[in-house]
Symmetry: C2
Subunit: 329 residues, 2 copies
């Protein structure tokens, strides 16, 4: 089968930060999660991806930040493109040019924006006309958290009952609330334990995993109430506790492991101290040492001042609620 | 009521390191734990305590490492002496001179050796003739972990069903096994969250606490089999996992907290690396940042060499199985 014209598309997708975490798959192949989760899409971290399907290519060509990608990373993208090709019934290779405005694999969910952008660009370039629901479902096959990055604002990833129903659903797309996420990039190195490995070991070996699934249900229900009410204290408390209960799964796994490093502990301690001093803020962490702090606008300046005492200014990035995917071409 | 002669006794008690942890009380007043635990008494860390009951005293006098103690610390000792006075039916005050060869309140269980020594010295000085079983029960009223420090070697603290049955029971008193505990004293400062507070918050708020109680039962059963078989790998693995599952309770508590500091993480990582390189060792941690490493004799030199690259030699203390309490007077 050949492809008539050179079809091309370019998409920008933003990353998201989960306030109620996704940590474990019920179905590995389809990336169906064990629990529903809820995130906030961020404006400052995004991926731009351009996909061009070309008859003359003998294999997919992946260019990441200007450099050709080989090995496992390229394979993961090719596997995803295989799904797109199968959906379109077209057996043709693609050139993928992608650039990341997110530190890769340091717990800032670059795969979320990456696979959301790839899903958007590849499906359009190959001629599929997918709506956002279908895009979210497709993005999930690349990376679980990408399911949520199709939409802006607060997004729920409903666990669902299988491939068709496990999708992102916008909870509040237009966020009318002056809140920020301050990311402290303590470590840009790639993590030793990927989130895929980490969640699998946690699910398979932590004695606390069954309870984790239950508490996520409660947290999801309660955080939605808090968000609707713009109740920052309640939202922040649920998010911080949920994150730490996720990290408790890594400690309690066999083998035990942690994503914390010395700087993570320093930021965590600082946030606790600031709260005691009346500067209300809460932290969350993912599969990497970087800490993300939730703060309302009126406390942002005080928070940044405190952070600057311990961290270089260029490591402190203030993000705000961001939009869903956008077609640039 | 008066006391005929000046009665005096001096006792040395060693601290112990729990391999299956005690982390929570079923009965706060009586210090009945929620789970049974198992420890190894250590030779290098001990407390010497001399108690003299004197008719002329108008209050207890507590001398700790040569200095008079007031406030909460003195109160905790006086409360304990009240129990001893009530048992003996004698209303008389005591001079308590105690010296610690353990860094206080830095997760090295100084209260274990402290209250074991105090139980031994105070009960003898006041004229009670307690056997070890009765001493263990009495020591428990001062500090839970002191219950185990009456005996040497591997000791089980059986949760029991109440005051009478919640006591230490020697599991293997004479340890015929060339193993060591290497303590890395990364931090001698007093902890912000005492173990009493920490375990109460964990028990009351961690969603994982119910599961913790179940896994301790399994761990206790399995570690006894491993110890009897001198199966170091199995014992070490159970001890490390049990400790991390205890620390997962602190992360998952409300408010979340941790006893880890930057150096703790460094030692934990080193131990994992050493295992991968064939130098078998396992860590455990208590309510403080200091890490204790379990190692067999044939790997001790290699372990110490590696530790010396990161820590001063005087912070690295090699302990071995130690004896139960001993009357010096």
């Amino acid at each position: 089968m050949t492809f008539e014209s050179q079809n091309n598309s370019k998409v920008r997708a933003h990353t998201n930060i989960a306030l109620v975490k996704y940590w474990g798959k019920e179905n590995e192949a389809l990336k169906i999660p064990t629990t529903s989760s809820l995130s906030l899409t961020l404006d400052k971290f995004y991926t731009d991806t351009e996909v061009t399907f070309k008859n003359e290519l003998a294999a997919d060509q992946i260019i990441f930040n200007g450099e050709a990608v080989k090995g496992n990373k390229a394979k993961r993208i090719t596997n995803f493109l295989n799904i797109v090709r199968e959906m379109a019934g077209k057996n043709i290779f693609a050139e993928v040019k992608t650039s990341n405005n997110v530190p890769t694999a340091a717990g800032l969910a670059s795969s979320a924006s990456g696979f959301a952008a790839l899903a958007g660009a590849a499906s359009k370039a190959i001629g599929l006309k997918l709506n956002k629901k279908e895009l979210s479902r497709l993005a999930r096959r690349g990376s679980g958290s990408a399911t949520r990055s199709i939409y802006g604002g607060f997004v729920e990833w409903q666990k669902g009952f299988g491939d068709q129903t496990s999708i992102g659903v916008p909870f509040i797309e237009k966020v009318d609330w002056n809140i920020h996420i301050v990311a402290i990039l303590v470590n840009k190195s790639e993590k030793e334990m990927t989130s895929t490995q980490g969640m699998k070991i946690s699910k398979d070996t932590s004695p606390y995993y069954v309870e984790w699934k239950k508490l996520c249900k409660r947290d999801l229900k309660n955080i939605k109430i808090a968000i609707k009410a713009h109740d920052f204290s309640r939202m922040g408390k649920i998010a911080e506790e949920n994150a730490m209960r996720m990290h408790a799964l890594t400690l309690s796994a066999d083998p035990d492991f942690t994503y914390f490093d010395a700087d993570s502990l320093k930021v965590m301690k600082l946030v606790h101290n600031l709260r005691q001093r009346g500067i209300e803020c809460y932290f969350t962490m993912d599969a990497g040492p970087n800490v993300k702090i939730l703060v309302e606008d009126h406390n942002l300046v005080s928070l940044k001042q405190e952070l600057k005492k311990d961290f270089d200014e260029d490591k402190i990035i203030v993000a705000s609620p961001g939009p869903g995917i956008k077609y640039l071409k």
